[in-house]
Amino acid sequence: MTSQPYRLAEGGVIDRTRPLTFSFNGRRLTGYSGDTLASALLANGVHLVGRSFKYHRPRGILTAGTEEPNALVQLEAGNRSIPNLRATRIELYNGLSAASVNCWPGVRFDAGALIDAVHRLVPAGFYYKTFMWPQGGWHVYERLIRRMAGMGRAPEGADPDRYERTNAHCDVLIIGAGPAGLAAAVTAGRSGASVILADERGQPGGSLPDVASDGDVTGTSWLGDTIAELQSMTNVRMFTRTTVTGYFDHNFLIAVERVTDHLGPGAPAHLPRQRLWRIRTSRVVLATGALERPLVFANNDRPGVMLAGSARAYVNRFAVLPGRRAVVVTNNDSAYEAALDLHRNGVEIAAVADLRAVPVGPAAEAAAAAGLNILRGHAVVDTNGRRRVQAVHVAGIGLDGSLTGPVRALHCDLVLMSGGWSPAVHLFSQSGGKLRYDEMLGAFLPDGSRQHVLCAGAMNGVAETASCIVQGQDAGKGDVPAASEPTASTVDAHWPIPARNRSGEVRQFVDFQNDVTAADISLAVSEGYQSVEHLKRYTTLGMGTDQGKTGNVPGIAILAGSLGVPLPAVGTTTFRPPYDPVTFGAIAGRDVGPLADPVRQTPMHAWHAETGAVFEDVGQWKRPFYYPLASETKHDAVARECMAVRRAAGIMDATTLGKIVLSGPDAVRFLNRVYTNAWGGLEVGRCRYGLMLGEDGMVLDDGVTARLAEDRFLMTTTTGNASRVLAWLEEWLQTEWPELDVYLTSVTEQFATVALAGPKARAILTGLTSDIDVSAEAFPFMSWRGGHVAGFPARVFRISYSGELAYEISVPARHGLELWAVLLRSGPDYAVTPFGTEAMHVLRAEKGYLMVGQETDGTVTPIDLGMQWILSTKKDFIGRRSLARSAMLDPLRKRLVGLRTEDPELVLPEGAQILPTAPSGPPETMIGHVTSSYWSGALRRSIALALVKGGRDRESATVHVPLEGRTARAEICDPRFYDPEGLRLHG
C-alpha cells in the first residue's frame, strides 16, 4: 500500500515538503505539516477512529472541527498524556502518537461492543428503573457499571508543562477570523480602535480554505490583502489557536491560547503550553460561523458517514479524499457544493438524495449541470457496513414525510449528509442573548442581548461570503449589521427520516457520542420527560464532550415532533460555558505549587529555618511551631521552651500578629463601637486588651491596642484573623459609619515584633536600651514606650500572653533579624531561649487565657468565657444587643472551665467530648468538649480547658471523657492553673 493513498497530488494548504510521521493505535503512518490528525488519518484511509460511549459502536470522523463528537483520541502517554482530544482539532507534529479511547483490547475488536448486542436491554433512562433489587444491590451493580465509565484516561503523574493566565483589554473583541470577522477587524482597526481578533484555527481565514482549494472564494486576493493590512495595524492584535470559550457579565470573556500544543512535546521549554486570556472589552463582535448538522436516519453513525461541509474541507483544505464513491443526502443546497468539489477531485458521486421535492439553489443547479445523479424528494433510510459504511438504502420521501416507492441500495464508501446549518450562537447565549427560531433556515438565530455584542456573518444565518463581509464591516463600525437578502435555498426539516422497516427496531442516532437515538427521545417524551432540560438529563442528549454541538437542533426538533408542538415552543437548553473544554492547568495558571497561595515569612524566617524550626501554617504565614534540639521530640522541645520562659527568658517571633493603625479624631469613638470595652480613658502611652464581637454577639477576635497619640492607636489582631478584621472594620467604616473620621492602615509587615518573656526579661531589656526606663514603676504593665533597643528605633509594649514578665519589642521590619540575633546573644548569662507557638499555647493555657479559634468557634460569647468584666454597660458596641437575647442568658450555655484529669499523666486529646456520666452507648449526652490540653511542666501535670454546659456551676464535679477504647475521668476546676493572682506578670 502506498503511503497516503487518499492524498491528492496537489492543492490544499498542507506543506508537502514537510512530511511528518506519527502513530495511531501503534501503526506508523505519515502525513504533512498542515494536517490535523483527522485529515492525516483519512489520507491513510483510516476511518474507524473510536467507539461510542454507551454501546461501543464503531465510530469514524464526522466533522472537521471543534464540534466533533466521534473521533476522540488519547494523545501521547505518561505524564504528558491527554484524554478525549478530537482528532479533528489536533495539529499534526512529527512523532505524534495517539490511540483510540473507550475500547478494549482495541478499536477494531472491542469487548465493550457486547453491550451493543444487548442494547435493547439498556435504553435511555434504563438505570433509573432497575438495579434496586435487593436492597443495597446497587452497590454491587454500580461497581460493574463504573468499569464502563469514562472515555480516555487521566495522565499518570504531575503535569510537566507550565500554563499562564493573563489579562487583556480592548475596544473591540472580534471572535472568529472568517470573512465576517476579518472584515469587522479591518473596519474597526481603521477607525483606530484597539482590536483583538481571536480565532481557534492556526491561520486566519475561517472556512475560506475549506470551501475553495485556492483558499479564496472572493476570486480576488481579498483574504491575503486583508490579513496583510491587519498585520500592519499596531492597534490590532491577532490571536491564532485561541478559542474564546466563556462569555461572562460586563463583557468579560475567557479565551484559551494553545501556545505549543501544535509543536508537541518538543516545544521550546520557555513557552507555556497554554495561556488563558481574560479579556475585558467595550464591544464584542461575534463572527463565529455556523456548524453543520447531521441528518437523523437509521444507522447514520457508521464510519464513513460524514458531514458534507466537512468532507469538502478535507478535499479543499487538506487535499484528502474521504472516500472514492459517495452518496450525498441533504435537506438544503450547501451539500451540492461539497458534492461538486468532491466530484471535481475524482470522487464518484453515486447519487445526491435531496429531501426536498424541488431542490432550489445555485449549487443544486450547478450540480445538475455537471450531470450529477440527483434524486429529488429522496432520502437515505439506512446504511450497511460494520467498521465502514458499504452501502446505503435510498427511498422516496413524500411531502408529509412518509416514504414512497421502493427502497434501493447503493454501494459507496462515503456518505455525505447535511441537515442544514446551526449558527454558532453558543457564546451569544452565554452573554445572556435571546434566540429566535427561523423557519426558513430551520435554525436558531441571535435576537437581542443584554450586553454590547454584535453578530455578523454565518452566525447570523448568512450564507454568501460577500454578504458576510458586508455584515462584518457593519459590525466593525459598531452598527447592527443589516439583514442580508434571504437565500433562495431553504431547508426541509425531516427529523428524523423515517426508517424503511417500521415494525422492526430502528436506531437513528441524534447524539453520536452518547448513543442517543430518536427512539430514546420519543420514549422519554412518552414517559413524561418533556421539558427540554428533562429530556437532556434523562437521555444524556447533548451531554457528551461535544456538548451536542451537532445534534442539539435535531434533538429539539424530534422532541417538538413527539410533543406535537412547533419547534420554538420547546426552546433550547442553556448554553453553559465553556464553548470548548478548557485545560485545568490553564485555569489555574501559575497558581500551583508554591504559588498556590502566597507564603508569608517574617524577617526572622531565615534564622528559624536554619535552626531547624518545625513550622506551622497559620493562615498564609509560616510560624515556628517549636525548635527541636538534636534528637528532641516535640513534647521534650515544648517542655524545655516552656520551662525556659518560666525560669529565665524566652523570645518568640510575634511579627505575624495583625497590626492596624487607626488614626483620626474619631478613633476613640470607632474603638468604642467595635470593642466591647471603653477606650476614652486610655492615656497615650498605655495599652488595653479588647474583645471584638460579631453582630451575633460571638467573639470574633481579640488583641491589645495601644494609644500612640491623642488621635492614633495601634491595634493588634490574631495572626489568622488579621485580614478578616481589617475587612470587617473597613466594612463598618465605609458602609455604616462613613461619617466617622478614622483611617485604617495595615502595618503588619512594616514591623518585626519579638516577644521577650520570663523573669529575666527586664534585666535583658535594660542591657539593650539606654533611652527607655524599664523599671517597674516607670514602665508598668499594659503600657508602651518608644525609644531604641539594641540601637534600633523601637516601640516596646509591656504586655504578656505567657503570664510572665514580658515585653513585645517592635522594630522596623528590616531590623527584625538583627534584633533577634542581639536578643539571643544577650545570653549566655540570661540563657535566652527561642520558643515557638506551641510553647506559647501551653503558657497561656496554664494562665487560663483564651485563644481565639481554639476556645472560641463562632458560638462563644464573652460571658461564656467568664469575661463579663470586659462588657461595658455604658455604651453600645457591635454584638451588644445579641447578648441580650433570651438564649444567651441560659445558665446551661457552654462556658469555659478548667479540667483536671484524675490521672495527672494523662493529656486529654483536644476535641475530646465531655459526658456527665459514664458512657452507656450512643447517642450519648454530650455537655461539652476539651478546647485546649497540654502537659504543664510548671505544674508537673496535665491541664485542660473546656467548654462545658453550666460552666463553673459544675465546679468540682467529675465528668467523663470517652477516649479510644476507654473513658477518662476529670474534675471541673478554675481555668487559671498558674499564678492566678498574676503576681509574676505584674512583677
Binding site: 481574560r278 500551583v592 467530648q913
Partner: protein, 416 residues
C-alpha cells in the same frame, strides 16, 4: 403507579417499541387545595410525597415556576453525608441519610445512592483539632466517622498527593464511609413520580407571584396560571425564599449567593471516594459516567442570576491541582451556578411562620441536597400537625431573635 420490576423490564426489552407509563401527569392547577407546596425541587417534592404517604393528606399541589428539579436540586454536586457537629444537625441529617439508604426501594426509582465514602481533609494543626472534635462528637451520636492519617488518606484515594512539599499538605482526614453521592435528578424524579402516584398535582411552569394573607392567615396564592386557594402553604424555594416570604410580609435572615460547580470530561475511574477540603476550598467526586464533579466556595456577592464569576473557578482550580497534580491536563467540560440560600448560622429554617397556615423550609444553603428526604419528612409532619417534629423543632425562624443558633459554620465554610 405502574411499578418498575424485573419482569416489566424484560418485557419492554423484548418489544421493539418499549411502552413505559408516564412518570407523572402534567395537570392544570385546580382552584383549591388543602396544601400547596411552592417549589418543585427535591425538598418540595419530598414534602408532598410524605404529606400524602405519612399523613394521609390527599389534596396537594406542588407549584414549580420552571421544570421540576431545575433549581439547586438539579445543579448540586450531590454529596451526601451526616457527619455534622451539633446534635441537632447530626440527628436531622442522619435521619435523611437513613431515608436515603432505603429510598430507591421506597420510591421504586433508582436514585443511585453510592456510599463511596466522604473524606474531609485537614491541612493544618487547627484543622486537625477541629476534626478530632467533630469525629468524636459524631461517633458519640452513633454516626459512623473515623480519622485517617496521611497514609490512610492515600490508601483510600491513591491518586491524591500527600507530599509534605506542597503549599498546604494533607495532615489527615475524617472519613464517613456511609457518605457518598446520589443521582440528583433521580431524587427529584423519584419523589415526583411517587407523589404523583399518590395524587399530588405537580404543576410545572407555574410561578407563584403573590400570597393572599388575611388577618395573619394564609388563604391562597396568585400564580402565572391563575389564583389558587389553599388552607396551608409551604414555601420551599431555596434561593428565592426571601422573595416568596416577602409576599407574606416576612423578612428572612437569608442571603442568596451564587454557588458554582463544574465537571471535567469523562475519564476512566480514578477517584472512588468523595474528597472535600474546607481549607483550600474544593470538593470533588467522580460520577459513574466518569466526569469529575467539582465545586468550590460561594461567590461573595448577593445575586439571583444563576451564574457566578470566573475567579471562583480559577481559585478552586489551583487548590484542586495541589491535591491532584495529575489532573492538570484534564479539561473542564461544563460549568454552572445555582443560587443558594444561606442563613447566618449555616443551618436551615424548617417550621412555622408568624402567618397562620404558612410554613417555610429554606436556608439549606450550600448543603441541602443531602437532607432532601429528611427535610421533606420533617416538614410534612410540621405542616400536617401544625407543629414541628422533634427533629426540626430547633430549626425555627425565631432562633434568630432568641439566639438559639445552631452554628455549623465550622462545618460549613463549604458544607456540601
Amino acid at each position: 403507579m405502574t411499578r418498575y420490576s424485573i419482569f416489566r423490564l424484560a418485557r419492554n426489552a423484548l418489544a421493539y417499541r418499549p411502552n413505559w407509563p408516564r412518570a407523572w401527569r402534567s395537570p392544570d392547577p385546580r382552584p383549591a387545595y388543602d396544601v400547596v407546596i411552592v417549589g418543585g425541587g427535591g425538598h418540595g417534592l419530598a414534602t408532598a410525597y410524605y404529606l400524602a404517604k405519612e399523613h394521609g393528606v390527599s389534596n396537594i399541589a406542588v407549584l414549580e415556576k420552571g421544570w421540576l428539579g431545575g433549581g439547586n436540586t438539579g445543579r448540586n454536586t450531590t454529596i451526601i453525608r451526616s457527619n455534622y457537629l451539633w446534635d441537632e444537625s447530626a440527628h436531622l441529617y442522619e435521619k435523611a441519610l437513613q431515608l436515603y439508604e432505603g429510598l430507591s426501594r421506597e420510591l421504586n426509582f433508582n436514585i443511585m445512592l453510592s456510599q463511596r465514602g466522604v473524606l474531609n481533609l485537614a491541612h493544618n494543626e487547627h484543622d486537625l483539632k477541629e476534626m478530632s472534635r467533630r469525629v468524636r462528637a459524631i461517633r458519640l451520636n452513633g454516626i459512623d466517622s473515623e480519622m485517617l492519617d496521611p497514609q490512610g488518606v492515600k490508601a483510600e484515594v491513591p491518586v491524591i498527593n500527600i507530599s509534605r512539599q506542597v503549599r498546604y499538605p494533607i495532615l489527615g482526614a475524617s472519613l464517613q464511609r456511609r457518605g457518598g453521592v446520589a443521582r440528583h435528578d433521580a431524587v427529584a424524579w423519584g419523589f415526583a413520580r411517587a407523589a404523583d402516584a399518590r395524587g399530588v398535582d405537580i404543576v410545572q411552569n407555574c410561578e407563584v407571584t403573590g400570597l393572599d394573607v388575611v388577618n395573619s392567615r394564609v388563604r391562597g396564592l396568585r400564580t402565572s396560571r391563575g389564583t389558587i386557594a389553599a388552607r396551608k402553604v409551604g414555601l420551599v424555594a431555596a434561593g428565592h425564599s426571601s422573595v416568596l416570604a416577602a409576599m407574606a410580609g416576612l423578612r428572612l435572615p437569608i442571603e442568596s449567593h451564587p454557588l458554582q460547580a463544574m465537571v471535567s470530561e469523562p475519564i476512566k475511574p480514578v477517584l472512588n471516594s468523595v474528597v472535600m477540603s474546607n481549607t483550600v476550598h474544593v470538593y470533588l467526586s467522580q460520577s459513574d459516567k466518569g466526569e469529575l464533579v467539582i465545586g468550590a466556595g460561594i461567590d461573595g456577592y448577593n445575586s439571583y442570576a444563576q451564574r457566578g464569576s470566573f475567579q471562583i473557578i480559577e481559585g478552586q482550580m489551583g487548590a484542586l491541582l495541589e491535591l491532584f497534580p495529575s489532573f492538570s491536563r484534564l479539561r473542564m467540560l461544563r460549568q454552572w451556578g445555582g443560587i443558594v440560600d444561606v442563613c447566618p448560622d449555616a443551618s436551615p429554617i424548617v417550621g412555622k411562620t408568624p402567618v397562620e397556615g404558612l410554613y417555610i423550609n429554606c436556608g439549606w444553603g450550600t448543603g441541602g441536597f443531602k437532607a432532601t428526604p429528611g427535610s421533606g419528612w420533617a416538614f410534612a409532619h410540621t405542616i400536617a400537625q401544625d407543629r414541628p417534629h422533634a427533629l426540626n423543632a430547633p430549626f425555627t425562624l425565631e432562633r434568630f431573635s432568641t439566639g438559639a443558633l445552631i452554628d455549623e459554620h465550622g462545618a460549613a465554610a463549604v458544607a456540601h
